[in-house]
Every structure is written in C-alpha cells, then in structure tokens.
C-alpha cells in the first residue's frame, strides 16, 4: 500500500541522471553496449543453447539494458499509465505483463526522451500533452481533482470538529443533571438496602 510514494524523488542528481540516460540510450545499439551492462560471472561461457520449443516460453523479449534498471526512468514510468487497458503504470505493466504490446513501446519512448535531455517533469508533461491527464497514475492536485485529495480529509476534520463541539455541549448539560440525580438517588437508600447490596457484591466476588 505504501508503494509509489517515492515517485520523483530519485531524479535529484542531474549529471548522474543524464549520464545514465545517455548510457542507456547508447546501450540499445549493440555496438555501443557497455561491457558492464550485463553482469557475467562466467565471461567465457558460450552462447546460450536453443530451447526445445521457444513458442512455449512466450514471445521473445530483448535483453535488459541499463536503462531498464535506471531509477530515474522507473520513477517516471511509475507516474505514467499504460494505455493497453490494464490499469497499471508503465513500469509495472512492462515488468509484469510480458505480452503487453504497448508498455515496451512507452518505455522506449521515455528512454528516448530522457536521452534527448528532457527532464522527468518535461517527459511527463509531454505525455500529458499528447494523451491527456488520463496518462497520469495520480491526477494533478489542482482544480476539480482537489475534490478527490482534500474532500475526505476536510469532511473528517469538519465532522470531527462538529462532534467535539456537540460532545462538549452534552457533557456540560449532563454534569448538573447527574449531580442532581446523584443527590436524589442516594437519599432513599436505606441501611437494609445497602446491606443487601453489600451482600450481593460479596457473593459475586466469591
């Protein structure tokens, strides 16, 4: 439930961001693939063997690039909705529904825009300009959208304040009434009644 709140936080080091993005864009081109893009514990191992029936493993997918693991890219993608109809954000869709025909394209587009030097906010603004605010996983907190963000809290605070006011009023009213009731109810108790009450309480304790 607490996921998704780190969105936008990781785009802090501009130089580091641009560096990683440039690398990731270059890594798409095979000849520019940096040697450390894939951690290979057995560098001398030969090419991977063919599967007996590749069709069973689903559609072939491209190898991971550095951009796929780039926190800044992921943060942007977590704010954008995949348009395939799954309701997930681009990052979750492309890393969950491996048959989705849309999210890999959106991912490539984000990487290309980042590679072109656009900031996270500019990339998101561009997607919104092209597709509308429906592209955002959370609508911007302005205009009518404020209703969704503020109304529940305001309703709770408002009702809470009204409750506090009402309870304080009831409490003020009940005190004098209780004091009067205390005097009148204590008066008629006879010694015999008190004895009986004590006896009954003793029997419960036993």
């Amino acid at each position: 439930m607490l996921e998704g709140r780190k969105v936008g936080k990781d785009i802090s080091g501009r130089r580091e961001f641009l560096g990683t993005v440039t690398l990731s864009v270059l890594s798409i081109i095979p000849s520019f693939q940096p040697s450390h893009a894939v951690q290979d514990s057995l560098p001398d191992s030969g090419p991977a063997g063919k599967l007996w029936d590749p069709a069973r493993a689903g559609p072939s997918i491209p190898p991971t690039t550095a951009g796929d693991n780039n926190a800044a890219i992921q943060a942007i993608e977590k704010r954008l909705k995949c348009t395939c109809g799954c309701g997930l954000d681009v990052y979750t869709c492309r890393t969950t529904d491996f048959t989705c025909p849309v999210s890999p394209g959106l991912h490539r587009k984000v990487m290309a825009m980042a590679g072109a030097g656009m900031s996270g906010e500019q990339i998101i603004a561009d997607f919104v300009r092209e597709n509308g605010v429906v592209m955002l996983m959370a609508p911007p907190a302005r205009g009518f959208n404020l209703t969704a963000y503020l109304l529940p809290g305001l309703a709770i605070v408002g009702t809470g304040a009204a409750l506090v006011f009402a309870i304080l009023r009831w409490a003020r009213r009940s005190r004098p009434a209780e004091a009067t009731a205390g005097v009148t109810s204590a008066a008629p108790a006879t010694a015999a009644e008190l004895d009986q009450l004590r006896h009954e309480l003793d029997s419960i304790d036993a």
Partner: protein
Amino acid sequence: MTLLGGLALWVACLLGVWGALTGLLGASRGRADLIASSRHAVFALCGTLLIAVLALQVALFRHDFNVEYVAAYSSRNMPTFYTWSALYAGQKGSLLFWAAVLSVFAAVAQVVTAPRHRVYLPYVGAITCLVATFFVVVMLFGGANPFERLPYTPLDGRGLNPQLQNPGMVFHPPMLYLGYISITIPFAFAMAALLSRRLDVDWLVAIRKWTLLSWLFLSVGICLGMWWAYVELGWGGYWAWDPVENASFLPWLTMTAFLHSVMIQEKRGMLKKWNLLLIIGSWLLSIFGTFLTRSGVISSVHSFTQSNVGYFFLAFLVIAGTLSFWLYARRLPDLTAESTLESIVSREASFLFNNLLFVGIAFSVLLGTLFPILSELVTGTKVTMGPPAFNRVNIPLGLALLLLTGIGPLIAWRRSSLPNLRRQFAVPVTSGVLALLVLLVAGMRDPFPIAAIALGAFVFATVVQEFVRGVVARHRQYGEGWWLAFGRLIARNRRRYGGYIVHLGIVILFIAFAGMAFKTETEATLRPGESATLKSPYGWTYTFTHLGISQYDALNRQVTAATVEVARDGRNIGRLITEKRQHVDSRGQPTFQPSTEVGIRSDLREDLYIVLAGVVNGTEQAVYRFTINPLVWWVWYGGLIVALGGLVVMWPGGGAPAVRRAQAGYAVKLVAERS
C-alpha cells in the same frame, strides 16, 4: 441435469416472490398461516437453488460443452480441484452461487434465530427472498442464465483462465462472496426492526453473530485475495487499489465501524440511528461492489465480462437504497438516544471518532474509485486514480485510525480522570516514543513507515498492557496459574480480548505494509551460469545465478521452467524456479496467452520474488526480474491473527451466566481501581 437446473431457476423465482409476499403480508396482518407459508418458501427456495447449483456442477464435471458456461470456463484436462471453482469463475455461475448461498443463509437464519427474536423472522424471510429473487431474475431475464445451451457442441472447452488456476482463487472468491452475501441477513433484520417498529437492542443482539461472521468472511476473503495477487499476478505487490479490491474493502470498513459502534448502543443506548445507517450502508456497498464488478462501468483487471446485468444491479441499488432510506427516515422519531455522551475523554467518544475515521476512509475510497467517472461528468476530462493517488489520501487516514486503535482501549467508559489517563497511557506512549527514537537513530527518514512502526509499538503496548492487567487480576483474585489465567481471561470475555487480538493483527499488518516502502528490485538478462546481484534493505547481498531452462508437459499446460540458484553474502541458500506456462486444451491447442509463475522464497524478514520475464530469441538466455519485498510474510500472519481474533469474538459459549458473572468479578475491581 441442465434442464432440471433451468427449471429450478424458474421455480426459485416463483418461490422467492411467494416467500416475499406472504412474509410481508403475514407479518403486517398477523396471519400465522401466511407467516408459516413464507417460512416454508424460504426452505424451498434454498432447496431449489441448491438443485440448480448441483445441476451446473454435474454439467461441469461431465464436460457437457453444449452448455455455454461449461465450454467457456472448463476443459477436459483441467484439474478437478479447479473444475469445482469454475462454478463461480464466470459471471453467470457466480450469480447462481450468490443466490444459492444467500438462500442457505436465509434458511439458516430461520432455524438458528433464538425464540425471543423470532418476531423479526417473517420480515427477514421476506427481505432475503426478495434479494435472492433479484439474483434469479438477473439470471433469467438479464442474459445470464448459466444453463444456456450452444447451437453446437465444441470438442473441448476453453478452460479456466490460468491466473484463476491457483489454490488462492479456489478459496478467495467464495470467502468474499460469503462476506458480501451474509451482510444481507443483518440488513434483513435491520429492515425487520424498522418495519415492525421494534427498534430496541433486540435486533442488534439477533444480528451480532451474523455481523461478525460477515466481517470474518470479508477479512479472510480480502487477505486471501492479497495472497493470490502476490503469488499469481507477478507484479510483486498485494494491493493495488483496483476498483474491485476497493469494492471488497468498502463494506469491510463500514462493518468494522459497526462492530465498534454497536457496543455503544448495547451499553449506553446511543447511536441507534447511526448503527442502522451502517448496516444499511454496508449492504448497499456489498451490492455496489457486485455492480462494479459486473457492469464494466470502471475498468478493472478483476472484472467479469461486460454485460447488461450492470443495469439490473444499478436499478436494484437505486430502488433498494431509496426504499431503505425512506423507511429509515419514517422511523427516525422512534430512534432517540437513551443517554448522551458525558465527556470527550471517554470510550464512547473514542469509538465515535474511530467510526468517523472508518466511514471517512470508506468515503475516500469510494470517491477515489468513482472519481474517474465524476471527473468526466463534471469537467469532461478523463483521469486515472492509481495507487499513488489512493496512498496520498488514505495513508494519513489509516495512520490516524491506527492511533485511535491504541487510544480507545485505554479510556474508560463514560469519563476518564487525569490520574487514570496517566496510569493507562504511560507504558504505551513510552513504547511508541522509544520505537520512534530507535528508528530515527537507525537512520530511517521516510515519515510514513516511521509513523506506522511507532504507532504500531504504541498499540502493541496497549494490547499487551490490557492482557497483563487482566491476567494479573485473575491471578490475584482466583489464585490461577498465569497460563490458566490467560486462557480464562480470553474465554470469559471473548468479545473484549478477541477484539484485542484483532487489534494485534492490524498492528502487524500496518508494520508489514510499511515494510514495502523498502522494496528493492532489478532486472537482468542472464545466460546459464551468469549471475546478478541485489542488495537487501537489511544490508546483505543476494546473488542470483541462472542455472538453465527446462521444458516439459504437465496436465493442462506446457511449462518452461527457469532455475535460479540463490546465495546470500556468498552462502548458498537454495534454488528457486519460475515458470512460463502455456495452457492448452486436451488436443494440445493453446487456450490463453502464456502466463508467469513466480518463484518465491519467504522468511520472516523478506521475500525473494523472481519472475521469468521471457527468453531472448528462443535461447536459454533468460530475462529476469528480481525483487526483495521486506516483511511480506507478516501480512499473512497479520491476516491470520485478525481471523483468529474474529473467531474468538464469535465463538459461542463462554460458560454459564452465573460462572461468567462470578469470573467477571475482577472487572469490577479493575473499574474501581481505575476510577
């Protein structure tokens, strides 16, 4: 058999109408013959709908693919285990399941209701018959008849969606359905109380077990749904604020509010109007959830196929809501409170604020779920309400609720004095503050997880303090051993201490949710023998080595299994297997897109979650997503503890009244001590 099933639906429809009419007329005119007839109609309705369920099950197990529903949701090579669950996997079957289970609950209510509450039963029978009839009408006239036949007979069926072929899906939907459906019984009693003008606490006593049962089913159903989403969907989380998830959460919130506020009505005769509203609201929300799942009005990964049954549900929702609130408004003069709150520092006031938060969160979730439609209606702009939007609004509200979970039990009924408050709050507040300091010193800076853990410590200390005081009091009073005193403390006051166990489960859930803030993940493409590493939030490094891929055939699927060896800080801790499954029918023809099976290794600290994304160019070079999810195991433990607490609360018995009175002596002393 399917002919019998179809016929049973028509008979059920007539029986439902008859039961409703005779029940209402009999109760309003005091006609014993009509009342008896209505009661018999309830039993007959139950029998007929069970025959319909049996007929559909027989068709499923006999692979009668001429029945459209059987061809759509089962296949010859599907495991038997899942053939049973095909009953409620599709729209039509689930409607039949709904109606049948409701009719069973209605019949049980007629049998188990205590003699002193039988005055409500004719109305209860009528209302339950009306609701069950609605579902039968949807099947017969809404194009959702599960016994509909095809003009031809396919050689094999399509089978169940691969994601539904998981043990979680066998138990999760029925549990949720049982939760949704059983709310109808408290609702029927509430309507009976309004119709008969018997609005004292009697109807509340009559529904106590039903509300708990419904809450318990919803709680277990929601937790099982989270588990299923986690192990099956492969996105590495368990709650995504999907509209259908929200639909199950809404009645749970209002029912939980009711379980708290009903205590105030029982003890002080207050909140009568509010409690009725909560029951009516919970039932309407359960129907709303059903509408949301079946109408296609909001897109969701969980929704059934879009169909026109949504219009039926919308009409039913509007009519039932209007009639319920009209009746409620007519009875308002009979619903005056017998006393008022005496202090803002009282248990009653804290319950009131707790109710405010529960209902406030329900409102927030409902608003968020419907906001895309509202926004389009008002501004003409489509928006998306994804997890970030829900989290922004609901996490602070949830934390405020957690705070109240700790405060409520510490405050006395009616009024608390300052010395009493000091004595009660000292240990829990100290625990909360200590936890906060430890987290800050440890370097945690994320405000929400810090708040969740610190407040969790506060509530945990509250619960422990309550148990310790109770046990010590019993030990002193009766000379019982510590464990015996502990057992009897719970057994003699199941409602109170069962409730505390539920609170404990909620604390564990909140802390587990906070753990997800420290989730880490990476993607890697590996050839056999290659490794990728990932650092855990606990500081150690995991190394994942791709061993290879094997392919083999299973009962109804062709499997591509990738094996990964896992080492923690260089020490081998085992192997994980993640799969791609291509489901096929009995002739080997693919039925669905390939699905993914996640490889999970769980321990109390964190889960390793490995997903085979796919292979590169049909080779053994595999693309993986490796995720470390902290504290996930605690979500399931928390859910179990919540369910256990619920069971304790609703467990019948508790000793003879005389014994209970005697054993409750310590409570009198405690109250005296406190004041």
